[in-house]
């Protein structure tokens, strides 16, 4: 099993969700994060005082999927999240040692 962790632009969230749904990927966990990479943030001025906002709001999507689906999932995900501009985000993939469904103790890929 693999964990796919994607950090994307918040306004792409709906599109990505649709893309994943149409692939039949159901399980996912989302959280609100802030980040920076190539994209360097911007300045905000409060009462003439400049503040650099270098951490921009992003959405992190985490999905644990079977190895077999890795390729199609990352492709669909990247496709839906892409605008071609700096700040589009990253996808990271990790190995998963075990998965357990709390409800009925299913383990491994059946638990996804």
């Amino acid at each position: 099993m693999k964990k796919v962790e994607a950090i994307i632009q918040p306004f792409k969230m709906e599109e990505v969700k649709e893309a994943l749904k149409s692939l039949g990927v159901d399980g996912m966990t989302i959280s609100e994060v802030r980040g920076h990479g190539r994209q360097k943030g911007h300045k905000e001025v409060y009462r003439g005082q400049e503040y650099t906002v270098d951490l921009l709001p992003k959405v992190k999507i985490e999905m644990v999927i079977s190895d077999a689906r890795l390729d199609e999932v990352t492709r669909a995900l990247a496709g839906a999240a892409r605008t071609g501009k700096i700040g589009d985000g990253k996808i990271f993939v990790y190995d998963v040692a075990e998965a357990i469904r709390i409800r009925n103790d299913d383990r491994g890929e059946t638990a996804l």
Binding site: V45, R47, G48, Q49, Y51, T52
Partner: protein, 395 residues
């Protein structure tokens, strides 16, 4: 429980005086005396009563509005500007002024400010508010109960130190803040209020003072005093840990926005209430207040537009507050258009103070209590001299 209620009820005697008192004026008219002379006399009393009802209605509303300025107005305005972790602490500073200054005022404060005393201090005449009753104090306000005048002035005494708290938001201990505020009120505010407003005060030429001072609703007493004290505090306390490298930007401008709106609305009580009546003077002050606030919001926004290329919500509300401060001393003396000019000037000047001068000098006035209240108040005091017509020609 019924038993309990019973016991309480039976401990209580007599009727509701409230309801009784109400019937008196009506009664007076009902059992109308026979001769024209008597009728006229009765009418004179009735007219006085009616005049008091009207003026008192507005003054009670004004007192409520001025309290609304401190809590929740100022508390929200300041609370939104600090970092998230400090919001409750900052709001509490305002609230504790509502608590502590009220006590102080009742014990000695009102007496020291408005008792008939020397040029610099009042007297102990009204200690524990003794002698402050429903009869008007004709020296200060002939048509409203003395109690109304006292509580209206109390609301001013509450907001003044609360304004200062903007200078040391985020870095003063609660107990230290409390001690400071009480001492400051005793040593700075009360004498200052006496000098400008008190009977026999040095700057109160109308009531026996020698130097005349043109301060309608407390530009000098409230805003210059608090603004300058704020600057002194900011300098004395030094900068907040991490200032200015660590970003300390406002954490919730929605709260500040609501606070600023409540300040604007409450300020109608502050300025128009300073007419101590519901007269044309009150209307005039009300209008001047509104125009100055709007103009200063505009001024600050334009200044931002010129300097940073775009206006900001914080700019608009900061400007409005600056305008309200600046119009305070002039509000009873000027027409809408001069009020507009004063406001516009305040918007520009205060913008300049907080966004240019402050950085130059490098002091850390957390919430710009000096930049807005000190500078706006001083500007207002000066422009009052420029725009206010001679009293005899005002209206």
């Amino acid at each position: 429980m019924t038993l309990l209620l019973w016991t309480i009820a039976s401990k209580m005697v007599f009727i509701k005086t409230g309801r009784l008192a109400l019937l008196l004026p009506a009664a007076l008219l009902a059992q109308a005396p026979q001769t024209a002379e008597q009728k006229i006399e009765a009418l004179e009393g009735a007219v006085k009563n009616a005049q008091m009802a009207g003026d008192n209605a507005w003054m009670l509303a004004s007192a409520a509005l001025v309290l609304l300025m401190t809590g929740p107005g100022l508390a929200l305005f300041y609370g939104g500007l600090v970092r998230k972790k400090n919001i409750l602490g900052t709001m509490m500073q305002s609230f504790m002024m509502m608590v502590a200054i009220t006590l102080l005022w009742g014990l000695v404060g009102y007496s020291l400010a408005f008792g008939e005393g020397s040029a610099f201090f009042g007297s102990l005449q009204y200690l524990f508010l003794d002698g402050v009753g429903t009869a008007p104090n004709t020296d200060y306000a002939a048509t409203i109960p003395h109690l109304t005048f006292m509580v209206f002035q109390l609301m001013f005494a509450i907001i003044t130190p609360a304004l200062i708290s903007g200078a040391f938001a985020e870095r003063m201990k609660f107990s230290g803040m409390l001690a400071f505020m009480i001492l400051w009120t005793l040593i700075v505010y009360l004498p200052m209020a006496h000098m400008v407003w008190g009977k026999g005060g040095l700057l109160n030429a109308f009531l026996g003072g020698s130097i005349p001072c043109f301060d309608f609703a407390g530009g000098t007493v409230v805003h210059i005093t608090s603004g300058v004290s704020a600057l002194v505090c900011a300098l004395y306390l030094g900068k907040r840990v991490g200032y200015p490298t660590e970003p300390m930007r406002p954490h919730n401008l929605v709260l500040s926005f609501v606070g600023a709106c409540l300040l604007w609305v409450g300020w109608f009580g502050f300025n128009a209430g300073s007419a101590v009546s519901a007269s044309g003077l009150a209307s005039s002050a009300f209008v001047a207040t509104h125009f100055a606030a709007a103009a200063a919001g505009l001024g600050w926004v334009i200044a931002e537009w010129l300097k940073h290329g775009k206006p900001s919500a914080l700019g608009a509300i900061s400007g409005a507050v600056a305008g309200l401060v600046a119009i305070t001393p002039a509000s009873g003396f000027v027409k809408p258009m001069p009020a507009f000019v004063i406001g516009l000037a305040a918007g520009f000047v205060c913008f300049f103070m907080v966004s240019v001068l402050k950085n130059k000098f490098g002091y850390d006035d957390s919430l710009d209590a000096f930049g807005v209240h000190g500078a706006g108040g001083t500007l207002g005091a000066i422009l009052t001299g420029v725009f206010a017509p001679m009293p005899s020609t005002t209206r």
